[in-house]
Symmetry: C4
Subunit: 128 residues, 4 copies
């Protein structure tokens, strides 16, 4: 019953991705955004690489993110900019690879219209 | 740690399906729609067959979709028309079969009322 | 690549359950409701038993539902009434057991406020 | 076909967590909240420990929750206060460990804007 033992997988995938071009409400809280929530419940630092796939061109990445041991990091795709920003208003998908087990959950806040909408799902665990 | 290795499954299912008959907001962005987001992170082209199931009649399909290697394709059920359009305002479900591993995520944007609502889930991976 | 082969599991669970007491908009389409979407992609009729669990009293059920072969049935918890209606405004959960493999997805439409909200998830597959 | 047999897992994770600081509508029903819905379909009482992880400090917990046999308990993170309240407006994640199998589903109601938004997902089953 040790909750801090290493849990999760090393490979994850999110097939949906779309950052709306418009937003309503105060920034940054209500800005339309997509997030990959990363949980590293283990005792070793997680070195995470995110690759972004598109409909009509080669994948871009890896985007590199570090999650310290016993920490969560909610990565906004909106804020990824190295090697290149993620385009707005375009379909994408992502593969997330870590050197230690993590848990990944996908969330979007869409504030294109006056009231916000939300979606979430645990990502697809692609490795055992 | 090669994110482009082949990940996913070949058989997927989505038990929920419903394309609202009404929409608010500019087309096509805010049109009520249902999407199957397909990610082919591998090196071989994916030949995908979607079969649509109904409450009161035989399944329709297969709808054939191709996803190039290292690409994502967000398929709107609204736009499927061969062998037949998916009816609006009716319950359906779908089974998605690919010849190479892919990842499938289901999303709906519902703009029947003035403000849009969203839902998503990773589809059910029906094969190992 | 036969999409009509038997796919899914026989035991499923949905831990969330809540039918809002209020609704806005035309009935029955916009009535607040919770749905268990059942997909029977196989060749044999599915005999499904739903048991509803509560916070403070014994489970109620089974509610019996039949899904013909190659059909989907989107069961509204609102409409279950034998052996007893599901109470509004109260937390519940459900276990769904079928004699043949099916796929189960959980959806809620919440129209308590003027604009509707949606949630969905593939249910938890409790059997292999 | 005994729905009350012990189903689920003992270890679960939710990588997303965020309790909005603002709400619209009548309390407590429409207060912005995050919930971990716990289903104990088995015959033995479940002793559950929730550990909450943050972006920038050590985890807090365990929060202890008991779920009687054949009951569901929808735990609002807003109401957890021992050993400490969960901060509003901050990213978190959670690991949920039970001594008997349970099923865990994550839900948020966000009423920061005039109309509420909802999200849900079955949590990540971290143990077999």
């Amino acid at each position: 019953m040790n909750p801090e033992e290493s849990i999760g997988r090393t490979h994850w995938a999110i097939a949906e991705g779309y950052i709306p071009e418009k937003s309503h409400g105060p920034e940054p809280e209500m800005t339309s955004h997509e997030t990959a929530c990363l949980l590293n419940a283990g005792e070793r630092e997680a070195h995470v690489e995110i690759t972004v796939f598109f409909a009509d061109r080669e994948p871009v990445g890896p985007y590199r993110v570090t999650v310290p041991p016993r920490r969560t990091r909610h990565v906004r795709f909106n804020e990824l900019d190295d090697p290149a920003p993620v385009p707005r208003g375009a379909d994408y998908a992502s593969v997330i690879v870590s050197d230690v087990p993590i848990v990944v959950q996908h969330t979007r806040l869409d504030s294109r219209q006056a009231e916000n909408a939300l979606l979430t799902t645990i990502a697809y665990p692609a490795s055992p």
